[in-house]
């Protein structure tokens, strides 16, 4: 039973990780790429962590897995925000199809 759940969760997690990488490769500009990478990779890594915790099955490794998960959930949005801010202010060109740029001309 544990093995089956682990297998499902690992397959889902690696599929999300692959989707994140495909998004980073195929999206048109930095901001869309960044949102693909941060969202999908957080979800994928979460699934992989659940599977590993099920496989290890003892308290010490559960604590480690939970701390990795909490750390990733806390830091990924911060890292994404910092990259987006830095790339916007260093005037990386937006994609042609961008509909709204609220800070245009304000700097």
């Amino acid at each position: 039973m544990t093995d089956i759940v682990t297998a499902i969760v690992w397959l889902v997690g690696s599929a999300f990780a692959l989707l994140a990488a495909v998004g980073v490769l195929r999206m048109p500009d930095v901001f869309t790429r960044m949102q693909a990478s941060t969202k999908a990779s957080t979800l994928g890594l979460g699934c992989l962590l659940i599977g590993a915790a099920l496989q290890m099955g003892d308290f010490a490794s559960f604590v480690r897995v939970a701390s990795i998960g909490a750390f990733v959930l806390l830091t990924t949005p911060v890292a994404g925000h910092v990259i987006a801010r830095a790339s916007y202010y260093s005037e990386v060109p937006l994609w042609n199809g961008t509909v709204l740029d609220e800070r245009k001309g304000k700097k």
Partner: protein, 88 residues
Amino acid sequence: MLEIVSQITLVTLGVALLLAFIRLVKGPTLPDRIVAMDLFGMLVVGLIVVLAGWSRVRATLDAAIVIALIGFLGTVAYATYVERGDPQ
């Protein structure tokens, strides 16, 4: 069964690493490369976590913690560098 599944998972994560690496090489601007590096760190943490669950060696998880930490610090440092520019 878990043997095969973990091999499939590891191969999928490897392919994802390869795609992120292509973006890292192509990446027209510097922030593109930073995003690719960030994803790279995330995928490596995932790879190590799967290896830890497969081999049941607990010390492997500590390596994953360290890599997650260093990846975040590296991303923030790169972003600060991009925003401030080269110190003259």
